[in-house]
Assembly symmetry: C2
Homo-oligomer: 353 residues x 2
């Protein structure tokens, strides 16, 4: 469904998912002798010239890329001059791209950064969130401390947005509103990077309060390919792209957290792969050495499936070798275990995928 | 796929889910203007004479019914005479059928029951589990108390199995093993109730350590229909069925927990519906007034989808009216909210479903 063909009078624009047009099976969950559950989804791999390298399912289907495009959303922080004006460290640039697990290593970097801007946690317009890190969450609960907005997995991205708004003299209050320049600038930029007309696509609100927009999966993959291989872009943007890839490669723990899939993969791949997950089964990857971009959306939104699917794609593309795969799987289990700890099944790519 | 046609040489028996044979769309998750994610699944509604009332998708597909058949698994506790020999209360019979949330109202009933058997928590062969109840889990974490096997959502079912084994003079140790009479008796009984040959179907291990077996969805629905309307069964079994339905209707909080979907629905329906959820997107219902059984399996295993799907079926069958639906939805939201608490989307049946 192209943006132009969206039925303007439909209160809820339907996705392309229909009885007759099911997405391919990507991942299966086994238990004992049988496949117990399956996950369908769509995959697009595109090069920086916009050529399709791999397309599974309807890659023109509009999707909300959610947090999987945070590396792209970090471009204005650098391009605007805000990062340099406020002396953002490489770690802080990585935090702009993060869906972090709310560990002290994250919150203890966000809070002084906000202080340097003359702002505080209350200026973040994301809601408070119990950390995804079990250890961090239990530590808060044990101490009787309520989570704050700094614990929200998006607090780094929001700090980046505040940095940009401050630097450009835009209002700090309301920076998450759909008509605030921070947000309109982002939609224009991502449309540009993916050569997509996003002016009339679906709109919604993300978990952290910023606008989300429907974007064809293929366009998101293309935008990631250009982030990976930015030679064709303006010199300023190309430099910003390279700075983002390097910042994430050098700070894998900032992107997600201790033992978390996204961080474990980044620690293995370094500058060969900027991987980024998003809610509802989304993943993107920018592959600088291959000059490719990847976008994956699992139909049902399950992260267990998007992890398995993106790992399979990285192996298929030769980004990760078998030894790295074993280390990643040892750290982030693809096994199904029962409460007593016994191995009872596997989460794995389907044979056809 | 009938049990007889299972390829014996396939190390993992595939489910019937294929590219060309996708299950129908049951539930959609919207965000703003767009459907963001969808869930497919299969639904069977059968009467006590084995007549199909509603079939969506391949209802002969083998599935693991998981905890959704706990009411059927409670039959031997009563039929064997164990329940009467050990004076099980109606609350304890309801706990046999429960996937409880590990609240004190559950654990404080399981522990004295085991003591009455001359046993303790260590005789439970399920692993320890942090309570699904957020309040109960936080209370344990705050107090620095590790969860025990009594907190496992299946501790009531396991206590029932121990009660039966003790009464019949069977070994207490190893009651979760596939060849223990407690387990072989259950597979025979459920095959009988659903008129299914389960002797050669897939086997696996459940989250709580007991064997699971592949069973066609339709057979599970039929077994639930006979639990609901047991007139055609032996007098002893019919009485046991009625006792189970009554115990669950009178103790809705035992089945799941405070504010939990399964318990909230049971509190509304009373003896008109024995609803029971299981892992990986399974739900069953026994509808005594209608003489029907229901079984639902969501392909991807998501509970947000199985809740929405079974609620839609109960409404379609006239078990729940609009007023009850509103009260259930007020207690167990079908809304998608962001971290700041704003309404951003809905989890709801697809228009065609």
């Amino acid at each position: 469904m192209s943006p132009d063909s969206l039925p303007a009078d439909d209160p809820i624009v339907r996705t392309h998912i229909s009885e007759a047009d099911a997405a391919p099976l990507l991942v299966e969950v086994t238990r004992g002798d049988m496949v117990e559950s399956v996950h369908r989804g769509i995959v697009s791999v595109v090069d920086a010239q916009g050529k399709d390298v791999l397309s599974l399912g309807d890659v023109e289907r509009p999707t909300y890329p959610r947090s999987a495009i945070k590396p792209l959303q970090t471009l204005p922080v650098i391009e605007s001059g805000a990062a340099d004006a406020f002396n953002l460290s490489e770690t802080e640039i990585a935090l702009c791209c993060a869906s972090h697990n709310g560990e002290p290593i994250h919150t203890e970097r966000v809070i002084p950064w906000l202080a340097r801007l003359g702002l505080g946690v209350d200026n973040l317009e994301c809601g408070p969130q119990l950390p995804s890190s079990v250890a961090a969450a239990h530590a808060l609960i044990k101490a009787g401390i309520e989570p704050t907005r700094a614990h929200n997995n998006c607090s780094g991205k929001h700090s980046g947005m505040l940095t940009t708004a401050l630097h450009l003299g835009e209002p700090v209050k309301g920076y998450t509103e759909a008509d605030h320049p921070v947000q309109t600038r982002l939609i224009d930029l991502i449309g540009e990077m993916g050569e997509m007309d996003l002016s009339r696509t679906a709109r919604g609100v993300d978990g952290c309060g910023i606008p989300v927009f429907g974007a064809p999966l293929r366009g998101v993959a293309y935008a990631m390919a250009r982030l990976a291989a930015p030679d064709g872009l303006s010199a300023d943007r190309a430099a910003a792209c390279r700075r983002i890839v390097k910042a994430c490669a050098n700070n894998p723990l900032m992107l997600s957290g201790t033992g978390a899939f996204n961080s474990v993969v980044l620690a293995e791949t370094g500058q060969t792969c900027l991987l980024k997950g998003g809610a509802e089964g989304y993943y993107t990857a920018a592959l600088p050495e291959k000059g490719l971009g990847v976008a994956i959306k699992v139909d049902d939104g399950a992260s267990r499936a998007s992890h398995a699917a993106v790992l399979a794609i990285l192996i298929r593309l030769g980004v990760i070798d078998e030894e790295q795969k074993s280390r990643i799987e040892a750290a982030c289990s693809s096994e199904v275990r029962n409460w007593a700890g016994s191995l009872v099944g596997f989460i794995r790519p389907t044979p056809a995928f």
